[in-house]
């Protein structure tokens, strides 16, 4: 059974929990994955998002999330203007992605330092989201848990090293997934955690042998 505040709540900016509140959370996740302020956002919208995004303010909601606003922030409706004032460039395209959830967005961000992130996710109802792809790697991330992500060389022992660091920091792994593009090349590991890992734990993961990059995403 759902809790009291799933029924009377959440506090949100209208008009739609899936097309507005969920879209803010998708933008927020993309911003957290990028790990810095975005200078540029190119967004592709599929399905119902592509059809109805203007009427639901989905475009404003996604940009609001990328700006770091929460789903109950009243500035969401002015998000496009706020982004323009900050010099962030935003563009939207409607696309058709085979077999994608009807409320899917692909968000490509370029950060202020030049870092990039391409995040695909769907708003799956009631404001809940599912991130399904990061930079070409298939993932399943809901944003309900803090996550640790590594990009590493696909070779034996990396998982042991990283999970050992988490174990030593007394951080429990709730869900875990490993994916790669090709054998022996680059791979990605995603761990959803019961606690947010400390910055030094993330740094230790980064320093681990065969790990190219590691970053943490807080729960949203």
């Amino acid at each position: 059974m759902h809790g009291v505040f799933d029924i009377v709540g959440p506090v949100m900016i209208g008009p739609s929990s899936s097309h507005t509140a969920g879209a803010v959370r998708l933008g927020l996740m993309a911003r957290k994955i990028l790990g810095e302020e975005a200078a540029k956002a190119e967004i592709n919208l599929h399905g119902s998002f592509a059809m109805t995004y203007r009427g639901h303010g989905t475009d404003k909601a996604l940009i609001a999330g990328i700006l770091g606003f929460s789903p109950e922030d009243e500035r969401i409706r002015e998000a496009l203007e706020i982004a323009a004032q900050k010099g962030m460039s935003c563009s939207f395209q409607t696309v058709n992605i085979e077999d994608a959830h009807p409320n899917t967005a692909v968000i490509y961000l370029v950060g202020t330092s030049g870092r990039t992130a391409r995040v695909r996710g769907a708003s799956v109802g009631g404001g809940n989201i599912m991130i399904t792809n990061i930079d070409g790697y298939n993932v399943e991330l809901t944003g309900r848990y803090p996550a640790l992500i590594t990009i590493h060389h696909d070779c034996p022992g990396v998982i042991t090293q990283v999970t050992k660091l988490l174990a030593e920091a007394n951080v429990n792994i709730a869900f875990m997934r490993v994916s790669r593009q090709n054998r022996g090349e680059t791979a990605m590991m995603i761990m959803e955690l019961d606690e947010e890992p400390a910055a030094e734990v993330v740094e230790q993961c980064r320093q681990s042998k065969a790990v190219d990059y590691a970053f943490a995403i807080p729960a949203i």
Binding site: M1, H2, G3, V4, F5, D6, I7, V8, G9, P10, V11, M12, I13, G14, P15, S16, S17, T20, A21, S48, M51, T52, R54, G55, H56, G57, K60, E72, E74, I76, R77, T94, G125, G126
Partner: protein, 291 residues
């Protein structure tokens, strides 16, 4: 711990402890969320503050929604409240509900209750009750727990999503939640509150979800006004001693079966009903010229 899966069980627990429904709902939430009572009550107080702010904004709103389909009707109705057949009490409640829905449509801040599409009904009915009976905010906050308890059971045993159960699942559930809360606020028994839920939901069974252009506006905004008034009538009927022949849990089961029997075209896909009328099609074309 207290646990309930039906309204009947919720009423029986309240009867056994000799407490109002909201007390059982709070005890359940304390156990499930592992939070302190004060934290839970404070969170609900915050929701009530947001609800009140959305009402005040709604009845003075003159802004049109992004699509241009709605906006300004709550103020029209509120300004008319002394002149109508239905009287100030009822017309102001309808204006509150329409107003909250208009705030939702202009990307304002609301509390989903149980959904964004039905967000006007419970707060409007409770605000009208607060004014009529001069009730403190604390009493309304407790009534919101009662409303939540009803919604939790409907959510579990039927649905609160238009895409699954049609509008009966959204506005029907909200009216049932509001009716129970109103009965409790008037001093009615838990049994009378449950009976009001049955009366309210029964009258909205079969209501389909066929929004024009896929937006939470037509018919949703005005329907919130109708459903708030319906919840008040259901509460008054129950307080007057009118009994639902079909018990509330059987009504919820009927809602579930009706929802499953509804074609997909009438479950929030905008592929049928009002959404495919000539006027709706023309409006859709105007709103989305690129499609």
């Amino acid at each position: 711990m207290v646990n309930f899966n039906t309204i009947g069980e919720l009423v029986a627990l309240a009867g056994a402890q000799q407490v109002p429904l909201h007390e059982i709902v709070i005890q359940h939430e304390i156990h499930v969320s592992q939070q302190e009572r004060t934290a839970i009550v404070t969170a609900m107080e915050k929701n009530w503050q947001v609800m009140k702010a959305s009402i005040e904004r709604g009845i003075s709103n003159q802004e049109k929604s992004l699509s241009g389909l709605t906006g300004g009707d709550a103020k029209r109705l509120y300004d008319y409240q002394d002149k109508g057949y239905m009287g100030r009490q009822v017309l102001s409640a309808a204006a509150y509900a329409v107003g909250i829905s208009e705030v939702n449509a202009v990307m304002g801040r609301i509390v989903a209750c149980p959904t964004a599409g039905s967000c006007g009904i419970v707060p409007a009915a409770l605000y009208a009750a607060q004014q009529k009976k001069n009730l403190p905010d604390a009493a309304i906050v407790m009534a919101l727990f009662t409303a939540a308890g009803i919604g939790m059971v409907v959510d579990q045993n039927a649905s609160i999503a238009g895409a699954q159960g049609g509008c009966q699942a959204e506005c029907g559930t909200a009216a049932g939640m509001a009716a129970a809360a109103l009965v409790e606020l008037a001093g009615g028994s838990p049994q009378a509150a449950a009976n009001a839920t049955a009366l309210a939901i029964k009258n909205l069974l079969g209501l389909v979800c066929d929004p024009v252009a896929g937006l939470v506006e037509v018919p949703c905004v005005k329907r919130n006004g109708f459903a708030a008034v319906e919840a008040m009538l259901a509460a008054d009927m129950s307080l007057a001693g009118v009994e639902s022949v079909i018990p509330v849990d059987e009504v919820i089961d009927a809602m579930n079966r009706i929802g499953k029997a509804l074609p997909k075209s009438l479950r929030e896909t905008s592929e049928g009903g009002l959404a495919t009328t000539p006027t709706a099609k023309a409006l859709t074309k105007r709103i989305y010229p690129q499609v």
